[in-house]
């Protein structure tokens, strides 16, 4: 069976800390199935945990869509976190390390971006926030960001 891009394999709710555990376990299982190495598995699970917690704490809950994707014979996992929260006013600020609007260390969004291969965020005030991340099981050459 070939992995077709764009088939949603699962959609998980994010409404409690029980759901955070489920999100982590699902992403762990999916990355293991796709043959990700242990470090890449751990990075994507950790990023998913950060983004799911953001959706829960700042977005008042939401959901994660998990899709296996492939490109040029390389398999990957795409995760889409969406909430209908207040949105992020200053995206640059939210992505910078050390910025926090609540509890935590302020590493959630910026840290999650460093843990994945592709990261995009769409946030609209009063409508909600959607974060899309993708990681591939065989690393494409990735431009390293300046710290």
């Amino acid at each position: 069976m070939t992995h077709s891009t764009g088939s949603v394999s699962a959609c998980l709710p994010i409404n409690s800390d029980l759901d955070l555990v489920r999100v982590r376990q699902h992403v762990r299982q999916m990355t293991a199935q796709l043959g990700f190495g242990l470090v890449e598995q751990t990075k994507l699970v950790t990023a998913a945990s950060e983004l799911a917690r953001n959706a829960l704490v700042h977005g008042g809950g939401g959901q994660m869509e998990c899709t296996s994707v492939s490109s040029g014979g390389i398999q990957g996992l795409r995760l889409v976190f969406s909430d209908q929260g207040p949105g992020i006013v200053d995206l640059d600020q939210a992505l910078s390390d050390g910025y926090t609007s609540g509890e935590g260390l302020g590493m959630g969004l910026g840290g999650a971006r460093r843990l994945v291969h592709e990261f995009s965020i769409d946030s609209r005030r009063g409508i909600g926030t959607t974060v899309t991340v993708t990681s591939w099981n065989s690393r494409p050459p990735r431009p390293r960001e300046a710290p």
Binding site: D17, V21, Q25, Q29, V39, T42, E103, M107, G111
Partner: protein, 140 residues
């Protein structure tokens, strides 16, 4: 939902007292509430008894995110105020790599490669752990 390989831990994590050291072994995936409860349990136990050190064994933990990182550094800060040192032991390499990339280097947190090293670091009375024929010839 398919059955998960490791069931998440809910409730209280056991806090064992060995001499003047508290030993906490974390396994699998923790609920946020369990981690916060643990922080409270360590604080109460450390305050109630003459504890000089806390060892948190992370060897069974597959991920540490920024929330768990905050709990660990809060426990370290809290125990310092209660006159005890916290040492985090046995972190998996993949977890360490991820924490650094996440931007969490957890300064102020003492670490050891395993629980035994952590106890040694704390200068704990390992003699308090009875082991056959070990300390016999050495202690007068």
């Amino acid at each position: 939902m398919t059955g998960a390989a490791t069931s998440p831990f809910e409730g209280h994590v056991p806090v064992l007292r060995l001499g003047g050291v508290l030993l906490v072994t974390l396994q699998g995936d923790l609920y946020d509430s369990t981690a916060e409860q643990l922080q409270q349990d360590i604080g109460e136990t450390a305050a109630d008894s003459a504890v000089t050190g806390v060892v948190i064994d992370l060897s069974g933990v597959e991920i540490v995110d920024s929330f768990m990182g905050r709990v660990l550094s809060d426990v370290a800060a809290m125990t310092r105020l209660l006159a005890a040192q916290t040492v985090v032991a046995g972190m998996r390499p993949a977890v360490a790599i991820t924490l650094v990339e996440l931007g969490l280097t957890l300064p102020g947190l003492r670490t050891a490669l395993n629980t035994e090293e952590a106890l040694r670091l704390l200068g704990a009375e390992v003699a308090a752990l009875p082991r056959a024929g070990r300390a016999r010839g050495e202690s007068p």
